[in-house]
């Protein structure tokens, strides 16, 4: 298949990209091209202009600053998966990036493109929800931070305006007693997530003041904070509030996880994703299994 004709521009800086976007309304930004090029070739998208941002150095790279892990929008999946910083501070993200597609896709595809494209079967949006990420967006009126909650609005729709450019993703670094994990059921052909679950758990000491007052009382480890997100079930990746509530204050045990996992989807509405490979009904029925596995994996990493 061949793309329809388009004009090609290359931007060398974020500012230049902004100017080009202003000059060519309806233009598409090109990062790694692993979502955009297929759309162009299938002629599902036929922009008059494509603006290549792939070589803007300032958009690339991973750094840690105090309590924040910052990842430039052009950083590839392979770089994220291999980064010691990401593995240490956002394990679930490294885990998800390492499971995207195949090596060729991971070497070209970028985190910014993945998020901006917002395919409901993508992995990274789910993880970033669970990790409470903040997105830095450069628009015609300057740069603004946008919280991940509410950023994904539906199938391939986000809070990004047509002339916005995503510059970086910021994630609070994981604390001492925090662990995260991503568990995925990949589609056998596309490798996208049929179901993907990201969980981040923080442990605290259970029992409250009594354990201090009563010598010998067991000081059980409980879940002091839980953040769980699921992709592939409803049109946009969603936080699983019901699961999180069921975990609060409970011991980090298999029983807790099974119980909490059973609550998944109860609060996410009836607009289930489904296709010839896996119906909505099936996805809903097996979602608890993946939630349970993600919780157990995250808990095993709590320091």
């Amino acid at each position: 298949m061949f793309a329809a004709d388009f004009d090609y521009y290359r931007a060398d800086s974020v500012a230049a990209a902004g100017r080009l976007l202003a000059e060519h309304p309806g233009a598409k930004l090109l990062a790694g091209g692993h979502s955009l090029i297929p759309l162009l070739k299938l002629r599902l998208s036929a922009p008059a202009a494509v603006i290549d941002i792939g070589r803007i150095a300032e958009l690339r790279g991973i750094s840690v600053d105090g309590g924040t892990l910052r990842i430039g929008a052009l950083t590839t999946h392979a770089e994220i998966a291999a980064s010691a910083d990401v593995q240490r501070h956002a394990r679930a993200l490294a885990e998800a990036a390492g499971q995207i597609g195949d090596p060729a896709v991971r070497n070209r595809g970028t985190i910014g493109g993945n998020i901006a494209h917002a395919d409901p079967a993508s992995d990274l949006p789910t993880v970033l929800q669970a990790l409470g990420a903040t997105l830095d967006i450069a628009g015609p009126h300057g740069e603004r931070p946008v919280g991940i909650d509410g950023f994904f609005q539906g199938v391939m729709t986000t809070a990004l305006a047509a002339d916005d450019l995503l510059t970086a993703i910021r994630i609070p670094t994981a604390g001492q007693s925090q662990g995260s994990a991503y568990v995925k059921f990949p589609h056998p052909a596309s490798r996208y997530a049929v179901i993907g679950v990201a969980a981040s758990l923080t442990s605290g000491t259970g029992g409250g003041w009594r354990t201090v007052l009563t010598p010998g009382a067991s000081r059980e480890t409980v879940c002091s904070n839980a953040s769980v997100a699921i992709g592939g079930l409803v049109p946009a990746p969603a936080r699983c509030g019901a699961v999180e509530q069921a975990l609060a204050g409970k011991p980090l045990s298999d029983e807790t996880f099974a119980e909490a996992a059973a609550a998944v989807g109860g609060d996410l509405g009836d607009d289930l994703l489904g296709d010839v490979f896996a119906s909505g009904e099936y996805r809903k029925a097996v979602a608890p299994v993946y939630v349970r596995r993600a919780l157990a994996a995250a808990a095993s990493r709590v320091g």
Binding site: F2, A4, R43, A189, V276, A278, V286
Partner: protein, 792 residues
Amino acid sequence: MSTRIFGSGIRRREDPRLITGSATYTADIRLPGMAHAAMLRSSHAHARITRIDTSAAAAAPGVVAVYTGTDTEGALQPMPCAWLLPDAGLKIAPYPCIAKDVVRYTGDIVAVVVAERLHQAHDAVELIEVDYEPLPAVTDPEQAAGADAPQLHAKDLNGDAIEGNQAFHWTVAGGDVDAAFAAAEADGVVIKERILQQRLIPNAMETRGAVAQYNRASGELTLWNTTQNPHIVRFLCSVVTGVPEDKLRVIAPEVGGGFGSKIAAYPADFVTVFCSKMLGRPIRWTETRSENYQATTHGRDHVQDVELAATKDGKITGLRCTVRAGMGAYLSTAAPGIPTILHGLMLSGCYDIPALKEDVYGVYTNGVPVEAYRGAGRPEATFMLERLIDMLAHKLDLDPADVRRRNFIPKFDNGHEVVTTLNYDSGDYPGALAKLLEHTGYQALREKQKAGPANGRYLGLGLSSYVEICGLGPSQVAGAIGFQGGLWESAIVRVHPTGKVHVFIGASPHGQGEETTFAQIVASEIGVDAGDVKIVHGDTDATPMGWGTYGSRTTAVGGAALAVAVRKIRDKAKVLAAHLLEASVEDMEYEDGRFFVKGSPDKAKTIQDVALMANVAWDLPEGMEAGLEASTFYDPPNFVFPYGAHLAVVEVDAATGHVELTGYTALDDCGPQINPVIVEGQVHGGVVQGIGQALWEGAAYDESGQLVTGSLLDYALPRADGLPPIDVISTVTPSPHHPLGVKGIGEAGTIASTAAVYNAVMDALRPLGVTRVDMPFTPERVWRAIQEAKGS
């Protein structure tokens, strides 16, 4: 010593050029003045064309010409079907190269655009306006055969009515089946099953394509084509386009796999020829991957209703089945022979089954035409039998291995006639299974299974014993079964003055590695270095006639032709060597490339010495012709029958329905192995393709006949990370009638593995009460089957 190179796992000489990207495929051919063709294919599965407007396309930038069915009518004959199945009421529907009035599948060609640049051709295709009047479509073979089904074709090529979409009804029968079933109903067991052999998409790495160069001055045409059989294409191209065979050269350059999908002749190739003739310019057409899904032949597509009769102690007494085989919208080149001759005749497998009957109905559907796909009919036969045997074992509470042992044909080494009248050449089926079971620790695995599931994962074991027919075949048989060609092979061996060798063969390898194995055959017979032997193939002007590479026949038939030819060389060389040594031929001995008088091996003439003298011809024996060259036409006396036994081990996660293949062992007997590394590679690839059918693959059409699995994003091919290491072992039983004793190995893996994996998954699901799941085993299907079994 002379057998050193025969049996050695030397590296494939094909690989360096394939791996480094320096091979030349059809799409790499560039000719001066070449223009590009793109096909407009029907977007409807079944519709009447009421209007085509090509004016906008014709006016688009770079467009040279636009042609529709009106232009090609009369200039291109209908696509021929070349397997005229006898005694089956065969009705061949007209198959125009470009559809003019009615389209019958989403992929039927409606128009062609030729442009200076490739993308201009594709852009202009979008500008062609076609008005369709949609007609109801049917893609399921059983529904298509039903009373109220939409009818695809009113009449066949002879003007006879086609009723019920039936292309043919073929029957094979032997023994007294009715008596067998009556007896089993009264005092035995009868097993019944419905089996769906889903439609598969072959997915060769290289999509199809053609480059046609017609010279108006000479009337000569050269056609570069992605084909498994250039000589057959030459023949069919001459029939369809009218270019006589002497003016027609077909070249199959590097061909990136076929798996059967490059056997058929295709309308698009002849449309490309038509464009070149009309415009007097070379034209290239290269299929896109989406087009490949829509228009290159698919495989399988059987709905099978099967019954097995047996005694209470597990001895099979009869087999009865009805098959509805989807043929797609038209009969592809070899299509009628696949679900019949290559399927029904092998129904008794490696078992002693005294009676069977099968009715096969070939049915037109609004799908891509169905053709041979790796295994071609035999996987569908093996599956049927192997599934029923497992069901019989479960019913009688016997181990599946045990039921197989109770029914095997005993070891034989020179012919065994089965109920379908085929005469198997040699085999030891019980021996193969015994070795497999021992090698895999089958009993220990069964013990482990008895311990019950661990973490909700259920262990399952699946066996598949198979025998297949290949090395097609005696030409007299080809004629009797309606195959419109011979099935012999030929080879020319030419030894140059320096002792280097050219071999010209009619067979057309396209990835299997015969450039390597054929060089090994020559080297082992006359003692030259394998590296000194060049194998020339794939060009009808450069090679002798051949019938192509498919049906695991290239080594079995072409290899035999080569062995016979090269032995003629050795015989002549021996006479010449005797002359040069002033000895009598009777006193001569040959060993490892050297000819000498018995008892004095150090006074020898090498094959190179002899080659030089034969070529300069200064001193030849009285009456001997100059040169060292031989040719053979080898028509095999019988087919060859490779066989084996495979074991698949799976674990099923009951909570999600996920199947994981955790172990796979293939035991295959293809006779003596010329190159065991290549054998292993063929087994790996074949096994994996069969696993793909069981676990992942399946072409699906929606109600309106649109292909919903239209790309690699939806159609799941096997991937390395979903597969266990495949353990390949073998036994060696030579074919008694083959000059080298060898049988075929190209399809064996696929023939065995689908049934092995299916049986393994069903074995795992048994404790959960599941008895039947349609392939492929997607997690949802397995999960649903588990839920349903729980409910009942």
